[in-house]
Subunit: 205 residues, 2 copies
């Protein structure tokens, strides 16, 4: 193993694009990836374990962590905070594991500000038509809401420029294979590994 | 197909590292890659076809092309020129094909100057010991020559900084799979494809 530190990969994209499905399939195949564990102020549910499903914190603790810039991103939904703790990510990377974060576009842009060395992958819908179908087929949205979410999706697609890669989610297995290529090739980048290779050489001389 | 233009990939590395073997195995698997056809002033041999095996040119023609900066790189061996014609590469890329060039380090550095948008992959020996074994096992070199080539190899490894990726050639099939990941992920880079994705979006609105 020439490299010691892991890489933070962020999979993001408009809602309805299928981020969760791609992440799930990826984790079924790439078992050495570590999923970023979120921090939340909501109560734990039966069966949930602190430090496994979530890091559970009080509202005061969470706000103190925000204040200390200890969250790579966070948001508040219905009176509860959700966020990505910096320390867990950094410790996992330092231990040599890649960390994988699947997240909405707004959150990804926050991570980009706080952790620009991450690798940002934008999941793109095969077409706006298809994105609409996917949003509609969730079945829970009125047609006004669907239109709003499509408008939102178009805005999010405009934010693509903050990302390093774009993967079209035409078929889950294709998208997963592309994400795997990105993960592998990022580990081969010269600026990441040249120092170690040169050291290897010096050790042999 | 979101993208129209191909990418020039350059596989290089110290002599003895196994560039030819990796390239051969890669081409057995990736049939849509186009191999860069070299230009030479040496006479064609029986069975060789102009424009397939080589582009055969007279010395005067070749020197005129050098003068016109029509070669991405060239060198002279035993009174004959060998080089990589820019026009063939550019036409093949424009037709949407990736072009693959396997070449010595000195040549790769020339290509880098003339075609910096290429993707440069450095093939690294698993160890200097192994590199020595490979050079020796070719069986045609005296021990002085082997030492010289090792010294040369160490110098070439120092030139790694001009490259985009480093792939260790521990096993051919691993190296090939890594090169394939690089080829795939380079096509997913946002700066290459964002314009086309945004156009796609506009066309749908």
């Amino acid at each position: 193993m020439i490299e010691e530190k892991g890489i933070l990969f962020i999979l993001s994209g408009p809602s309805g694009v299928g981020k969760g499905t791609v992440r799930k399939e990826l984790f079924d195949q790439a078992t050495e990836l570590k999923y970023s564990i979120s921090m939340t102020t909501r109560n734990s549910r039966p069966g949930e374990t602190d430090g496994v499903d979530y890091f559970f914190k009080s509202k005061e603790e969470f706000e103190e962590l925000i204040h200390q810039n200890e969250l790579l991103e966070y948001a508040k939904y219905v009176n509860n905070y959700y966020g990505t703790p910096r320390t867990y990510v950094e410790q996992t990377l330092a231990a040599g594991y890649d960390v994988f974060l699947e997240i909405e576009v707004q959150g990804a842009l926050q991570v980009k500000e706080n952790f620009p060395e991450g690798v940002f992958i934008f999941l793109f819908p095969p077409s706006l038509e298809e994105l609409k179908n996917r949003i509609v087929s969730r079945g829970t949205e009125s047609s006004d809401l669907v239109l709003n979410r499509l408008k939102e999706a178009r805005k999010e697609i405009e934010m693509m420029d903050a990302y390093d890669y774009v993967v079209v989610n035409d078929k889950v297995e294709h998208a997963v294979s592309k994400v795997q290529s990105i993960i592998q090739s990022e580990h081969l980048k010269r600026e990441r590994v040249a120092k170690q290779y040169k050291k290897l050489l010096e050790d042999e001389l």
